[in-house]
């Protein structure tokens, strides 16, 4: 229902042409092989732990999701209604693949999984997110994370 090609043409074009920052540099960080990596999820699905402060509009900050969070306690408060939520309702790994990361760590494919994961609300202007993203990098490094997977919604 909500593949980009299934949206009304004007909506699809707007999404495809959404303005994004024009970066002059191309940072590139190398590191050890996957079995030595500590991985965190930083989603842009507007995820929030049940009972905590949901994203109200285009908030530029982020929400923390402790690794011990259960599927029943994770909600989507993203401002957009133009994406499927039924996949997430059935299985949070569709959006927030924490169970898959834990399995990969148990199998030794990756080293470790972070203690805390995070979510932004992806419809926010990325320029406004920048200071929050840079502050988040400090928190991630404090958790010894060296690798981040960034799922949208």
């Amino acid at each position: 229902m909500t593949r980009l090609t299934d949206l009304p043409p004007a909506q699809a074009q707007r999404l495809a042409e959404l303005e994004c920052p024009d970066f002059a540099t191309h940072p590139w960080v190398e590191g050890p092989a996957l079995p030595q990596r500590r991985v965190a999820i930083v989603s842009s699905a507007g995820l929030v732990v049940r009972g905590e402060d949901p994203f109200r509009g285009r908030d530029a900050d982020y929400r923390a999701i402790p690794a011990h969070t259960k599927p029943k306690d994770l909600l989507i408060s993203h401002i957009s209604i133009n994406f499927d939520r039924t996949g997430f309702q059935e299985d949070w790994n569709v959006v927030f693949p924490l169970d898959r990361l834990n399995e990969l760590a148990a199998d030794g494919v990756i080293g470790e999984v972070a203690q805390t994961h995070y979510s932004f609300m992806g419809a926010t202007d990325p320029v406004l997110m920048e200071p929050h993203a840079r502050a988040l990098a400090g928190r991630l490094k404090g958790d010894r994370v060296d690798t981040v997977i960034l799922p949208p919604v």
Partner: protein, 243 residues
């Protein structure tokens, strides 16, 4: 996600983004991205398919071991098998709801559907272990009451501190959709999102109510209500053509 990747990478963290919209990713040129041919809302593909999801996440994570940056965009080759309709799926009911019936009729049907679906949702919770209803903090009956009140032309109120009335309406609508769509998916069949959406928007009083409220709010003089109704109630693909 591409911009976040850029900022985090500048701060010394290796990143890999999942991309659902390839043209956006091509323009923003993140350090690493895996484009996936899935519908919006499903960056890791099919629900309840751990093996498929693991292939997606591995294909993404393996990009951090490559040394041919600083910009890598790869494509995941396989479609989401759950995007196909399930011919065995049947909705909990099919009222062939019509949005232009009297508002009071739709409001009463909505309230009766909520009760009708209660045992179906209980089945879902037994199956899955949880429900994602709960963003508004209201009971589902109160969410339906808020929506029915809008149909009846009642003043919009919020019972939760810090939530403006339009925000409360938005979250109540999100909860109402979650309640119906989870109930619709209860059972052994595996409906596609399109099947569930067709049912919700075309054959339930809740879908009819949201179409009607959207139309009424867009005609109101309250700009916040117009904004909520115009953008956060009926998906663009489900907006009815005028007339």
């Amino acid at each position: 996600m591409s911009a976040l990747g850029h900022y985090l990478e500048e701060e010394g963290l290796a990143t890999v983004a999942i991309s659902l919209i390839r043209p956006q990713t091509e323009r923003s040129r993140p350090p690493r991205a895996l484009w996936v041919p899935f519908e919006l809302g499903r960056p890791f593909g099919p629900p309840s398919d751990p093996a498929f999801q693991k292939r997606v996440i591995l294909a993404a994570l393996q990009l951090v071991e490559r040394d041919d940056g600083p910009v890598i965009i790869e494509d995941f080759p396989d479609d989401d098998p759950r995007a196909r309709p399930d011919p065995d799926w049947r909705p909990p009911f099919d009222h062939a709801a019509v949005a232009d019936r009297p508002a009071e009729t739709i409001a009463r049907e909505l309230e009766s559907e909520i009760e009708l679906l209660r045992s179906v949702l209980d089945r879902w919770v037994t199956q899955r272990g949880y429900s994602t209803v709960g963003l508004s903090g209201l009971s589902i009956a109160d969410c339906a009451g808020l929506v029915a009140g809008q149909l009846r032309g009642e003043a919009l109120t919020s019972s939760r501190e810090g939530f403006s009335p339009p925000l409360m309406l938005r979250f109540a609508v999100d909860d109402l959709k979650a309640y119906y769509l989870e109930a619709g998916a209860a059972g052994s069949a595996k409906p596609s999102s399109r099947q569930l959406g067709d049912w919700f928007w075309n054959a339930t009083a809740a879908g009819a109510a949201l179409h009607a409220i959207r139309a009424a709010c867009l005609a109101s003089s309250d700009d916040r209500l117009k904004l909520i109704a115009g953008n956060f109630m009926v998906p663009a693909a489900r907006v009815l053509a005028p007339g």
